[in-house]
Symmetry: C2
Subunit: 138 residues, 2 copies
């Protein structure tokens, strides 16, 4: 955590109370929060924080590569603080909760040259879908 704040300061970030709180919220629980979740938790610690600032800060963290934006459905984006460990996602089709997973193999290598259409590949996201134990009624 303090690592994150240190990295941000090194990159010329002005360390405001608002940014600190957003970073703390993301780092606090390693779950995948929506912007509104972040706003709610941030407001608990710093009541005057505004929606715009939360969006701004999340966007900056994404640009800096400290946080990953996950759009698993057409709903609100979720923010994944686990950015420094490559992984994919497993999403519950009922309740929408997300787990980080690491499949075997190298999916990038699995795309044959004939299927690349001349693209220069930069990465691949995998989203596994299923029903979690809670929603399955187990």
């Amino acid at each position: 955590m303090s690592d994150l704040l240190a990295r941000l300061r090194d990159r010329g970030w002005r360390l405001t109370a608002q940014r600190r709180v957003v970073a703390e919220v993301l780092d606090g629980e390693h779950v995948h929060l929506t912007a509104d979740d972040v706003l709610e938790r941030a407001t608990a610690r710093l009541p005057e924080i505004s929606r715009a600032t939360v969006y701004n800060t999340l966007g900056e963290l994404v640009l800096l590569g400290e946080v990953i934006e996950v759009a698993t459905d057409g709903r609100a984006k979720r923010y994944d603080p686990n950015a420094h460990r490559p992984h994919h996602h497993l999403v519950c089709s009922r309740c929408g909760t997300i787990r980080d997973v690491r499949p075997a193999g190298d999916p990038l290598a699995d795309l044959p040259a004939g299927e690349r259409f001349g693209f220069t590949l930069s990465g691949v996201e995998m989203t596994y879908r299923g029903v979690c134990p809670d929603c399955a009624g187990g």
Copy 2:
């Protein structure tokens, strides 16, 4: 195409002019249109068609498994008429165009039991990212 209309009638669909037009638009160009794209093209053929009907029809086609909903970014969903041939997507990070691709291997099998967290898996979506030849300046 007439196949699609036939399948829909077999499933008890009332074949209205609006539904016919939406189906034709989707089947016409095999690209990945947004709901607004579909509305625009549908309006060209049937000026009185309403936004709600386009959304309703697209939703029904998705439920019937005739069309796949693709959410590659946080923006508008896109609708993929290539539903009967399993495939994944290759998205240009610059211009956003989408190509259908078929990677080798079975990504579902690549998720080890220890990484399934008790979920009952139903499928997996892969989104390859890269830059297309046009955008690469080639």
